[in-house]
Structures are given as C-alpha cells and as structure tokens.
Symmetry: C2
Subunit: 443 residues, 2 copies
C-alpha cells in the first residue's frame, strides 16, 4: 500500500503518484457499503452549505483575475458561482444521495449446474480523468457522480478557475475523510503538463472525459491510448419529409437551431424533400426572423431568395452559431445517405406525418439519437430522464448518446461453486444446466 | 453509393475500399428484417454441407503446404478441418439461426412527456476487423456471429490457412448474395500490409478483435486507435484460504493448471494462507503427479522440498504451460493486494469453507471474473452460457470477461414526438413526466 510521502503538505505530488493514490482510494470507495457512499454525499451537501462564504470568496478571486486579464465575457459568465448556483449544486448532490446505489446490482444470474451459480454484477470503472473548461460547477457535478458510482476522479479544470476548483475539491475530499475514506479518491490536477503526463498513464486511468470545446476533445482523443468518452462534433440534421407538417417543421427548426446554438445537439443542416419545397419559405422566414443566417444549395435557391450559397464545407461544419445550411434532396434515401456521408452520428431528426417514412428513417439512420417530430435539442441526459449527465458520446463502444451514471460502470462476473473443475464436464460425465434465473433470485 | 470498380474480378481491392464496401453492406445487413438474417444463416449451414468436398480439398492444400514448410505440429493440428469439425460448425450456425435476433430489442423505454416517448434499442456495432491465427474454423464462428448481429466483418487469417479461409469466406458471401444482400459484409483480408493499413482506418472500422497469442494481441493494441476487444494476458490466481478444504483445493488447483495449460484462463499462481501450509503438501503432490513444475517462495519452501525458487518475474508470468508459482501470504488482504499488484484482471479464485472470507474476496478483487470454490477454467463464454464466444476481454470499457454476442452490439436512442421543441419546457411552461415504462410496452 502506497501512502502520501512525508514532507510539507503543499509539495505537489507527481501525476503518477496522484493516479496511484487515486487507484488505491478507489478500491476502498468502490468496495465500502452503499450507506457509506451515501453518507459521503450527504456530508458533501452539508459542506457546500456551510462553506458558501469561502466558496464564493475563492470564486471572486478567480473572477477578479479573469476580468483583469480580459477573459471573454461568455467565459467570465461560465466561471461565476452564485448563491443560487450553489443551491442547485447542493440539491443535485442530495438527489444523488437519495438515488439507489448502483454497485453490486445483479444484471444476470445463471445456474451453470447444481451448486454452481454465476452472477454478473455492476462495478465501478475505476479511475476517471475529467478535463473541463471554465465552469467550476463541473467539479461537484462530476465529483458527486464519481462518489455515487464508486469511482475515483482526477479533475483537471481551467487555470482561470483555479481557486474555485480547489475550494470545491476540498469539499469533496473532506466529505470522504469525514467518513473515514481516503480523500485521494478525488483530486485536483493542476497545470497542462500534469494533465499531459496523466494521458500517458493508461495502466492507472480507465476513462478520460473531456468536457469542453470540440478542439479540446479532438486534441485529447489524438493524444491518449486511454478510452475517451465524448464527442468531438455534433453536426445534427433535420430532414423535412414530403409529408412534413409545415408549422411543426418551423417550430422544430427554430428550436433546434436557436434554443442554444452553441450546444452540440443544435441543428446545423436542414435537408428538404423536393415535394416540401413549396412550403419551405415560411420555415425559412421563421428562422431568419430569429436572426438565423441561412445558406442554401442551388436547388433550394430556386424557392428561397437572397441567401448565401453553400459550399462543400458547410455540410460538415458545426457552426455553433445562428447559421444553418439547407439542401434539397430528391427523396428520403438521399437525405439518409447525406447524413451518413457528412454527419457526426450525434442526433438526426425527421419531421413527417407519414408513419412509414418515419419508421424507415428511425430504422436506417445510424446515429446515437434519431428522432421523429421532436427537436434535436432533446438529446440530453437530463431531458432523457437519465439523471445527471456525464456527457454525450458519439462512440459506438461502451456508451452511446447521452450518458448517465451507467457510463461510469462496468461489470464483474462472480461464480460460486462447490468444488467444480471444468474437466468434470463433457466427456468426464457432468453437463451444464445453463438455467437463466431472474437477476433478483436469492443466491 | 460506392460499387466495386469494374475490371478483372481477381484484382485485389485496396484495404480502404474493402472497408468502405463493408460499411455499405453492413448498413443493408443491419437494417433488413430479422427473417432475412436468419435465412442467410440457414443458407450458410446448407452451403457448408453441400461444399464439404471443396472445403476439405482447400484445407488439404493448406495442410500439405504446412507440412512441406515444417509448420509446428500443434499449429498443423489447429489448421486441420475434418468432417466432424464441419458438422460442428454447421450445427453452431443452425443454432444461431434459431437464436432470437437481437437487433431492435428495446432495453429502456421512457415517457418524457405526453406524446414524447424515448426508446433505447440494440443496434449493430458496425464493421469489425477480426485478426486470427491458424484455425480456419474461426471464419465460420465469427462470421456467423457477425451475420446474426448485423455487423460486417473483415477477416484476416494466417497465411498458412489461406485456401481454407477463402473457401469458407465464399460460403458466407454466397449465403449473403443468395438472400439478395451485399456479399461485401464479409470479406477476406490477405497479407500483413493490408491488415496494417486497416488498423489505421478508425473512421471505417469500429472494433478490432484479435484471436491468438498474447504477442499478437499486444502488437495490435499498440498499433491502432480503433478499440480492441481482447486480453493480452491471463495471469490467474488461486488463493487457498485458511479454511480451504484440502481435497477441493487439490482438485481445483489441478483443473485450473492442467485442464488446458495454454488457455488464458489457466491458473498461473497459487497463493496460500500461512494457516493452510500444513495441508499444502498433498495439493502440491497432486500437481506434480500431473507433471506440473512447481516454483515456490521462501516461506513455502519451508514445507515443500525440492522445488525451484520463484523470482520476481514469476509473479507476472503467464506460463501457458505446466508451470505454477506458489506464494505464502499472511492473510487474505495480502493475497488480494498481490492479485491487484501482479494480476491481469482476468480471473481469480478463492477456495474456502468460510463464507465471510469468500464474500470479502468476491467483493474486493477487481478482476473480470472472481470465483469461489470453482476452477479458473470456467471463465469462458460457452461455460457461462453466453452461446458463442467472441473473446474474453480484460478491458473495463464496453465488455468485460467472457463476451458473447452482446459485445458486438451497441444501442441507439429513438424518440417519437408530436412536434415538441426543447424550449417548450421549463420557463416556457411544459414539464417532463419522465415515466419509466416497461421495455415491452407497446409504443
């Protein structure tokens, strides 16, 4: 067992030591009783409440420095904590404390033979490295999810939120200590060098979760062998079918584009069935009246005046802004082929009153989320009812689409026998029963 | 849509073209009806039967060349097909044809609001690259699993099995064609260069499955960004607790070591509680009488004579042979710490009559499979009742332990609305119901 080296406590630990300590602390956190993890969460909620003065003071220090350095206003805004934000964080932690602990849940139970029973149970993933920008709220959101699921988490926040992040991480660590658990299950990673060093530790870290710009995600994906949960891009499509209701089309197009244009689930491309073209102008007017810059392909230009033409680049661009490209297609298959060729497999939508056309689109489109008559903006862990959101994944491996706490879990196979060897089966005489039992059966 | 370039049909396609064609063929295979995938499997079984003469002749060609080149005898043995092997393959394919098609199965169903219902459904992973050695049987085993789960598969076999693999892949492709599906959902990749090129195609290939030596697996893991399903090593432990029954200990030790020493789930290290030491000699005698070379730590040497001493290397070695290292520990915690420090997270076993000690071991040991009073050799998809086995994974991401067809599947989120935008919720007045429904509810 490794322990913190002696010496002044503010000596920074090496990234590898941090990760090693985190792994050890995780083993304790992941195998203690559910009640203790719940108690840590309750304590955390209490500390957020008790320390609001300290937390806001630390945040004020960061905000002051950010203003002095002339940090862009949207970033300054995301950096800010407030009484009401702290209340929201505390409420979220209390909600998790009341959520059923997922560890040890039996997913599958099989009798292999008399006196030989197999269970597949939920287990923590292990050590997570979360790399995020600006928002110090992420410390509590991700930290509390990690505690509930028995994972350790190394938190690398932005330099601009240093004091806020430290104060929040202290709440998490002190909550662990107060329940007699090792505080190193949560720690702050500071400095880009330390984060880069951790991305090499694929034997110590099980999953990297980047929360931030697509540049951040892409750069992390290309610099580590550790699995990365996330998405570099969200190029989401809205396909208006021949049988689309035009009022619904306008509502869903405006919501998809304008509700929060910087989000990954915002709509970037409108695909229009040629038979819908006569009804397109009011949809485009609704968009432009909301300040959207519309770019059109040549076929669309025949019915829509005064718009900039699209270039090939438009079809693969995540604008993250009030810009939308529009393409007219001959049929649904051309729309689906366009989505497969240019999309990012994030979220794609059909609007139609034709049930068969909708079924076909939902069957064929190979994206994490595929919607009928609903805005792309619904692709979100909270809206999906998953509770807290870890992120949205466009990977096909492990977790896909909006990811809740399930994305932080793996399984183990536990077998209880009564002395059996594999050689006892087959030619040696015994045979397997392979009786699938209800997971809830008593062992 | 891409199509095979014109020209002589035996012009080899570039690896990228193969992968692109496989992706297109997969989209058709993954979205056609379950009945059509079943029909392909039935046809495949029929072709294996009809073509047994051709298949055995192709295999004879490979066997002749292998003998002439002086290929090692175990490899020659694995290379061989026979009437009975073909019967077994055919039976496996027919069994899969009768298995319920997994695609479209609803895993989760949530009403987000009235007229807004979410489903999480099973979907194919996409395009698999399987790299295997010697055994041509793998073509049919993996190929049929891929067909059942709607995946395309690029098969890279060993040079020594070239003719056998081609003849078997032809059966798979002809079965697809006979049902009007694109044959490129299954194809043979030939030559090391082609395989290396495919390992770079992370946009076209979703999962790599290496089946072969740990050198093969390690070399693939270190040369691709595509997720790899597998395990490089199986350093499995058997811990004999203070309260172990000594007859059971001997039976499980002999089975774990000797049933199939080359397997990844064979036992490599015996950890012995010091209180069990007086009962250890008959266990060791049972092992040596089965031809096992036993290596012992200094504390074990006090009760076991004439054995080679262990070195530090022994604790992390997968012998793959009739060799076993033995270490005496002071208590269960030392055994668990040893497993975490030196193990590969594959399969670890406790033998004990003490239920509390067993529970503690099963709770604490962080390996894919953890067993009580049963041999490590049970860690196997068939023995676990998973049906055909894709492989055994020591990754904590996606699939862990013995992996059946589930490891070849992902999910998609399908939402059916009636015109909702995300901006209609919250301050705008609507609120989510988030009612969790039974997955089997009618839509």
């Amino acid at each position: 067992m490794m322990s913190r080296p002696d010496g002044p406590s503010d000596d920074p630990l090496s990234p590898r030591t941090q990760a090693t300590l985190a792994r050890e602390a995780q083993r304790a956190l992941g195998t203690c009783s559910a009640e203790r993890r719940t108690a840590v969460l309750s304590k955390l909620a209490q500390l957020i409440d008790e320390r609001r003065g300290q937390l806001l003071a630390a945040n004020a220090q960061d905000l002051e420095a950010a203003a002095a350095e002339g940090l862009a206003m949207p970033l300054q805004k995301r950096l800010g904590l407030s009484e009401s934000k702290l209340d929201g964080l505390r409420a979220g932690v209390l909600q998790l404390a009341e959520t059923q602990d997922p560890l040890g849940t039996v997913l599958r139970r099989t009798e292999l033979d008399e006196g030989l029973q197999l269970r597949q149970v939920r287990s923590p993933l292990g050590v997570l490295l979360v790399i995020f920008e600006s928002r110090p709220d992420a410390v509590i959101q991700i930290g509390s999810l990690a505690l509930r699921s028995g994972n350790a988490v190394l938190l690398k926040g932005g330099r601009e939120a240093l004091h806020s992040n430290r104060a929040l991480v202290d709440c998490l660590r002190d909550a662990l200590s107060s329940e007699g658990l090792l505080p190193d299950a949560v720690c702050c990673v500071e400095g880009r060098q330390a984060a880069t060093a951790l991305l090499d530790e694929d034997a110590l870290i099980d999953l990297v979760i980047p929360r931030g710009s697509s540049e951040l995600v892409r750069s992390i994906q290309s610099s580590t062998r550790i699995p990365v949960l996330g998405h570099a891009e969200g190029v989401c499509h809205l396909y208006l079918d021949a049988a689309a209701n035009s009022q619904m089309a306008a509502h869903i197009a405006v919501d998809g584009k304008c509700d929060y244009p910087a989000a990954c689930n915002a709509t970037e491309t409108l695909l229009v069935h040629e038979a819908f073209l006569p009804q397109l102008p009011p949809v485009i007017e609704a968009l432009t009246s909301h300040g959207v810059e519309v770019r059109v392909c040549p076929r669309t230009a025949a019915v829509i005046d005064d718009c900039q033409p699209t270039t090939d680049d438009d079809w693969r661009t995540e604008y993250g802004d009030l810009v939308l490209s529009v393409k007219t297609v001959t049929d649904a298959q051309e729309a689906i082929d366009h989505i497969h060729a240019h999309g990012s497999g994030h979220t794609d939508v059909i609007v139609t009153d034709d049930q068969l056309a909708a079924d076909n689109f939902l069957d064929q489109v190979d994206s994490a989320s595929v919607f009928h008559n609903a805005s792309s903006r619904f692709a979100d862990g909270f809206r999906f009812g998953l509770g807290a959101e870890v992120g949205i994944s466009t990977s096909r491996i492990h977790a896909r689409g909006p990811v809740g706490i399930d994305g932080l879990l793996t399984t183990r196979w536990l077998l209880r026998g009564s002395g059996q060897g594999a050689g006892d089966y087959g030619d040696a005489g015994r045979s397997f029963t392979h009786r699938h039992l209800s997971p809830d059966t008593e062992p």
